[in-house]
């Protein structure tokens, strides 16, 4: 569980530090919490290979956690990801700049009969050349103003 330990430490670090980027905040939180999650990894592959893995549906389907049935890679373009159990999540492209930058919004997986859709989150992925391959940085955050809705009963 070494990976999970590192992950938890990064979660705590994020919870304790404030980000330079503007984020939606909940004023009732006792400590500043950046409602964003960031991961950075160096991949042993060229930037164009990583870009293809991020943008070609057949390749995305291999690792994203569902089959990418549709992906219109333009601003406002739509996408659909289907999980093995039939649940789908919608994607809406925000901006694309090959082969360095991709931002999209997506909604949680929904099965037929899901009471109501969850809130969208925004995913930003950046690729940079790196001596060992390609540095991929991904940030997922709640949409400004909607935050991650914590529907706690008041």
């Amino acid at each position: 569980m070494y990976g999970a330990t590192v992950q938890l430490q990064s979660i705590l670090a994020q919870a304790q530090s404030s980000s330079n980027e503007p984020v939606a905040r909940r004023p009732d939180l006792p400590t500043p919490v950046d409602d964003a999650v960031t991961r950075a990894v160096v991949l042993d592959a060229s930037r164009s290979a990583v870009w293809a893995a991020l943008t070609v549906p057949e390749e995305l389907s291999e690792w994203l956690g569902g089959r990418v049935e549709e992906l219109d890679l333009r601003p406002e373009g739509r996408g659909v990801i289907r999980r093995d159990d039939g649940a789908t999540r919608r994607v809406r492209v925000v901006s694309v700049e090959p082969p360095v930058h991709l931002t999209f919004r997506w909604w949680p997986f929904e099965s037929a009969g899901t009471p109501r859709p969850g809130a969208a989150t925004r995913v930003e992925i950046r690729l940079a050349e790196h001596p060992d391959g390609t540095l991929l940085t991904v940030t997922e955050r709640a949409m400004p103003g909607s935050a991650f809705r914590l529907k706690e009963p008041s």
Binding site: A4, I11, V37, L64, P115, G118, F148
Partner: protein, 110 residues
Amino acid sequence: MSEPSDQVGAVFWALADPTRREVVRLLSERGPITATELSVGLPVSRQAVAKHLGALADAGLAQAVREGREVRYRLTPPPMRAAMAWMAQVGGEWDERLVSLREHLRSGRR
């Protein structure tokens, strides 16, 4: 409010299982919700969901609230815990995806 180390332990434990992460997310978005309602959005049985809910309640992450004949579950109130759970869930998903992406890129190389 419990000790931070309790929260850390609970979050650490909750993020270790993908179904539990999904349950936590659904609770954060829709709670209070019954086990049956939760199982509609999950690829596991109602019984499995109930088991995860019981375990989350034992860990102090979720709370059972009786409403008439129904038992509904919600995340326990401290927003900090909910925020951490959200980050744990989303972070855990990206950790898994990035491992898969790395494997995909490796398999694609001749």
